[in-house]
Subunit: 120 residues, 2 copies
């Protein structure tokens, strides 16, 4: 069996990759909030850290009651317990990634986890 | 202390978010391979699953000797042991995300991990 899985996402309002790619260490979603809309609820997490990346557009996040302006290139880490809600700006959609991982689960990475091989 | 950390990434060739955002469950890098270039080595991992997302451009990946064409919107999960190397196309740069997480570390997510709150 191949040691990889692959999919392609288009312009859907939400795509969740966990089941599509058989992920075991994260859920990753690609999200589009149309201009003037928001996620309809506040949420927090039990175990999972969330990492949000803004791919296109602008908007804001409310985190524990504080409003944070968002633009393309912004990346945010939110602790599990924080209450969060995302909003698109009135004039433009907000396209963003959400990466959900178990807090404190990473034990090594990059230089300590990689095995560098031959180039040919 | 705020329950979030935030940064903004520009057009650098590589940005690593782990230390910038104090991540505990993932390393996330945003990478740009100029047209006609590649990562200069093959690598695998000891513990970590990698999830790659193509943000812009085109190119290819070699995974265990197999060549896979890549375009915007493609997402790939690669098992720790697989030998991988990424290439930009000759005519265009390849801009991509790499998410590194510990294989089998996610125990619950979304519906089972979320705590839905009040909207106001």
């Amino acid at each position: 069996m191949a040691n990889y899985t692959k999919t392609n996402v288009g312009k859907e309002n939400r795509v969740e990759l966990h089941d599509l790619l058989a992920l075991t260490g994260a859920e990753v979603s690609i999200n589009l909030l149309p201009a003037g809309t928001s996620v309809p609820f506040v949420h927090a997490h039990k175990q999972n850290e969330e990492i949000y990346g803004i791919l296109e557009g602008a908007g804001s996040a409310e985190i524990d009651g504080q409003t944070i302006a968002l633009q393309e290139g912004d990346w945010i880490r939110i602790a599990p317990c924080a209450k969060r809600r995302f909003f698109a700006a009135d004039h433009t959609a907000l396209r963003y990634l959400c990466i959900q991982v178990k807090e404190n689960s990473l034990t090594e990475y990059t230089a300590t986890d990689a095995v560098i091989g031959e180039t040919t």
